[in-house]
Structures are given as C-alpha cells and as structure tokens.
Amino acid sequence: MDGILALAADNLISPIILSFALGLFAALARSDLSVPEAAAKALSIYLLFAIGFKGGASVADHGIDTTLALSLAAGFVLSATLPFLAFFLLKILTKLDTINAAAVAGHYGSISIVTFVAGTSVLQDAGITSEGYMVAVAAVMEAPAILSALWLVSRGKGGAAMDSQLMREILLNGSIVLLVGSFFIGVITGAEGLARIESFIVAPFQGVLCLFLLDMGLVAGNGLRKSRKVLNLGALAFGILMPLCGAVIGLGAGLAIGLSLGGVVLMMILAASASYIAVPAAMRVALPEADPAVYLTLSLGVTFPFNLTIGIPIYLALATAVMGAM
C-alpha cells in the first residue's frame, strides 16, 4: 500500500504529468497558449513512429514468443466486447440515448496510444520490461470497437451506416498504418536499425512526450471548459468506473495468456483507455447525430487524465499484487 502511494506520488510529479497539468490549467484559465495543429500532428507522428519502431526492435531482439498470437487475439476480443460493457454501464449510470451511448461505448473499446506510451514510461522508470509486441496489440485494438458501436445502434434503429469506404478508412487510418508500419520496420532492421536512429527516437522521447502532453492538456481543458454541462455525476462515474472495469478484465486476459508483469500492465492500460482520435473521426462519419461533446469530454476530459495520473499506478500495483500472490 505504501508502495502504491509512493508510486502514484512519483508518477504525479513527473515532468510528463505536470506538463499535462500545465496545459489543462492554461486552457481552463483561458490563456491563449496553443500548440499549432501542424506541430501537434508532427509530435504524434514522432510518437507513433518511435513507439512502433521500438516495439518492433524489441521483438527482433527478444524473439517472438508463443503468446504473441494469443495477445493479438485477446486484444481483438477485448476491443470488440468492451463496448457492450460500456453501453450497459452507460445505460445504468447516465440518461444518454442509444446513439450517444453507443458512440461513447465505441471509444472505450478502442485505445489511447498516449496512455499506452505513458504506461511504458512508468514501467521503464520502474525497471519493468514488457513484450515489444504489445504495440501491435494496441494497433489491433483501435478498430474493432467501432464496429461494435455501430452494431449497437443498428440493432436499435437502422441508422448506422457502415459502408466499405468507411471500413477502409478505419483500417487504413493514418495512426494504425504508421504504428504497424514502424513496428515492422523495427522488426526488420532490429537492433542495428535501432542503433542508427536511437538518438532520435529513444533519448529525446520523454521530452517530446512532455510537449505532446502539454498540448493534450490544452485540448482536454478547452473541451472541459466548453462542455461542463455534459459532466453530470453519472457521466463522471462512468468515466472512472469504466477504465477500472476495463483494467480488471485486461488483467484477467493478460494473466490467462501468460504475459509478463509489464505485458499484463500494458494490457490493462489498453483495456482501460479510451480513444480520442480514430473513433471520433469514424463517429462523425457514421453517427453524425451523436454529440461529439459527450464522447470527447468523457474520453479526453475524464478517463484520459484519470488513467494518466492515478489509473496507471493502480493498475501496476494491482498486477504486482496479483502476480506476486500467484
């Protein structure tokens, strides 16, 4: 218990979290501080490339173990099924109609790559290794949740349109392509490739992450400021309960397929995190009637900061406790 508190405290005063807090503060105080759109996009390209490449290089280094296929399958199943749990919780906790509840549910089946990255940082600081292919699991989990969300709607009334163009857009989404692509580049070029670009993708990584989280804080803060009305108690409860449920289910999955401690924690984080890039874009096309303020506020304004600050240490402590007891 002491350990978890110390860990949480340590996490809270890391430059990464404080940069997020600074962005949040600046936005809530209505400062004109802003990161240009092009710069934010460039930062996210850097992060996806670096995380994918490092994952791939680590797979090239440690070899593929037997749990790889199981992990990918587990990721797929989690992404496809968590929306049903989310939908159920939303129907209990909030008054959202079916379309909005389904849209939100889709976000929680999918994942937040920045939360994943922050998790790897925490693991690294704690000296815990993890399976490199968890990056590929992250990529696999981006899309299936969208289909589940649309199914939840079409079941109700016939409104959700999933045409083949949307399908292609979702699967060939820029962040999936970049993550998977750089993962394969890492697998192919291995340790030698990593050595060549290490001082670009490893050394400055945490610093770049700070600036990215500064921007995330600004965006989350602006969102919160504009949509405070969305945040009634039920919605707030969902935004915190759902990641906890997701993490526990992720823990079960991770244990079942025999991941290492680090891998289990990352699986928990993936299950606990909610999308705010790929899924919102798909929802604007397929479910234009759903209110973006609802799903963005929950995903980016509540669950993302929760995971970033308290969630990750809790998941790590939980996994350590459970796996230590086994």
Binding site: E37, M216, A281, V285
Partner: protein, 103 residues
Amino acid sequence: MQMHNAKRVEITIEAPMERRLTEALEHADVKGYTILPIVGGSGRSGKWSREGQIGRAGGMVQVVCIIRPERLEALLEAAFTVVERHIGVVCVTDCEVLRAERF
C-alpha cells in the same frame, strides 16, 4: 473584359466528410472545386477552433465550386445527399467569371 454569369457555391463541412463530398461532386460531373482550410467557427453544435483539436475529427473545411447556373441544381442535389445528416452550411452567390469554357 467579357464576363460570364456563374454561381459560386460555398459548402462548409466537417473534415472527415471532405472526401465523400468531393467524390459526390465528381459524380455529379462538377468540373472543379477549391478547398479552403477553416481555423474555427461556431454554430448550433457549439464553438470550436482548430488548435483545440486532436486529429481531424472536429475540424471543418470549405469547398468552393464555381459552376454554370444551369448546372447548379445537380450540384446542390449531390452535395445535399452528403451534407444532409451532417453539420454544414451551403451558400450560393451569383458571380461572373472570365474564360467560361472552363466551367
């Protein structure tokens, strides 16, 4: 200089719908269009600004088509099927163009 009557159609639409709109325009045989970026705006669904966005989900663009008056109806119908369920504004102005053979 010899000018020719035309219509200027300005469609403000969410960025994720851009490709669908331009494809619909091409199907309706619209010969040309120009896409302008938007940095922010406000409407019934609230206020937004480009720098407060992650990804393209929330951004918008403006698609401007200059077209012969007799082809307006076809264009509007094509655009409307895309814009219908989505937020977006369609605004038509009379204009004159040089080099009518291009439209």
